[in-house]
């Protein structure tokens, strides 16, 4: 069945260099540096990436960082908590605009 997202395309990610080598190289070098051990551990970065993957709703990223988190030794509970962090921020981002709604309602109401 035709689909926009094909799991096998994830492993073809480096092939984007085919249409623009210089920028792809810069991106992948940067990407590698971002995920190296630093002030944050590579495991913490993996959990952040997992949460962000759910925020941007990228199927490739979700597959990649679910797997990566397992290979960093994360537990299923830790991974689900990361997803809830993303969910809370997304939900909170909507809900906090409720204040704007209330402001407007109060402004135009008697």
């Amino acid at each position: 069945m035709e689909s926009y997202f094909k799991p096998e395309d994830l492993s073809k990610f480096p092939n984007v260099s085919e249409f623009g080598e210089d920028l792809a190289k810069k991106f992948f070098d940067y990407y590698g540096a971002v995920f190296a051990e630093g002030a944050l551990t590579s495991r913490e970065k993996s959990l952040i990436a997992l949460a962000v993957s759910h925020t941007v709703q990228c199927p490739y990223c979700i597959d990649a960082y679910s797997h990566d988190a397992l290979e960093k030794g994360c537990s299923e509970e830790q991974m689900m908590e990361a997803v809830h962090v993303a969910t809370a921020i997304r939900g909170g981002a909507s809900l906090v605009h409720g204040v704007q709604m209330m402001n407007h309602v109060k402004k135009v109401s008697m």
Partner: protein
């Protein structure tokens, strides 16, 4: 769950497994070695005399490369053990690694340990933990291990129940915790006791192990905080695409993905330190193999005339060429994998 052997599964036949492994990729393990500047794998010196005392086990783990279980009857006889003792006595091999199945189920297990101790070698037992609680006659194993200063190496796939039981069977985690507490009670894993307790982590699925050091830190914290358990080292071991783990990979649709992962994660530094370069693996029937995985794939050491404990020739074994196959990618992926954990 029954063993592949009991179910007469095609995968219980070593050649069928090898066919499946060979079909997968045109990138052979040897060509990958060559690309990394390693012409072939050769033994550096035999330092570990690893003996499989039998395939019988009280557990039937989903990932078991031995296809061990309660329905396996293959067991090393006392005559073969005697031969092992004789051959070992003529060498300076410092360490003996006893494995299975559950090696403790061999009726001559304790006799063998006592005889080995007379040779003043370091002895490791790969104890699955639950064996200690499986029958009252095994309840004193911790004391027996301590009396003989055995290094205990035990599998615990995770510090949580769900992942552990999923891989090793319902109830295994709780029993393993109890057994670890019994080992701790007599000093195992405690500083200054001299009694070594090491744990082994296998991923509970089709992924590579986490970095050994960081996972060891997690295990130590979680097991101490939740159960008061201490241990010495954690070894991370990659699941090999052999036997029941191979069955799991195929049945779950993960086989191609996992093999691709192993091949793409080839690490030349890990390849230089694979365990076959310092180990000889002895099967329950006395045949000699380069490693435990070759043993399960029935790939004996290269020289057929010297492939049985009857014809044990350390001069040959110390410098022998290692037989490799596609499964070897399991030992060279990522940080590497061996019976002693990561290799790079």
């Amino acid at each position: 769950m029954k063993s592949l052997n009991f179910r007469h599964s095609e995968l219980s036949i070593a050649n069928e497994q090898i066919k499946i492994l060979n079909k997968f990729s045109d990138r052979s393990f040897n060509s990958q070695l060559n690309k990394s500047g390693i012409e072939k794998l050769v033994s550096r010196k035999v330092e570990i005399f690893q003996i499989n005392l039998g395939k019988m086990c009280n557990q039937t783990c989903k990932h078991c490369h031995v296809d061990a279980g309660p329905d396996r009857k293959e067991i090393m006889t006392r005559d073969t053990m005697q031969l092992c003792l004789e051959k070992l006595s003529g060498t300076d091999i410092p360490a003996v690694d006893l494995t299975g199945g559950a090696p403790e189920l061999n009726p001559d297990f304790r006799w063998f340990i006592v005889e080995l101790k007379k040779m003043n070698r370091h002895i490791m037992v790969r104890c699955n933990l639950t064996i200690i609680l499986s029958n009252p006659k095994f309840n004193d194993l911790p004391e027996f291990f301590a009396e003989n200063n055995i290094e205990v190496v035990s599998s615990l796939p995770y510090y949580q129940k769900t992942n552990t039981d999923r891989q090793r069977g319902e109830g295994v985690f709780d029993k393993s915790i109890k057994a670890l507490q019994m080992l701790n009670e007599i000093g195992y894993g405690k500083n200054g006791s001299g009694l070594i307790l090491n744990l082994v982590y296998n991923p509970a699925g089709a992924f590579l192990p986490a970095p050994q050091h960081s996972l060891e830190t997690d295990f130590k914290k979680e097991l101490l905080d939740k159960f008061g358990i201490v241990f010495n080292n954690l070894y991370t071991i990659t699941n090999m695409p052999v036997s029941r783990f191979l069955e799991y990979l195929i049945d779950s649709g993960n086989y191609e993905y996992y093999m691709e992962k192993l091949i793409n994660s080839f690490n030349a530094a890990a390849a230089k330190n694979v365990m076959c370069t310092n180990t000889i693996s002895i099967g329950w029937d006395g045949y000699l193999y380069d490693c435990d995985f070759n043993q399960m794939l029935e790939m004996k050491v290269l020289n057929n005339e010297k492939a049985h404990i009857n014809n044990f020739d350390l001069t040959y074994l110390d410098t022998r060429e290692i037989i490799t196959g596609q499964h070897c990618f399991g030992c060279t992926a990522g940080a590497g994998s061996s019976c002693g954990g990561a290799t790079s």
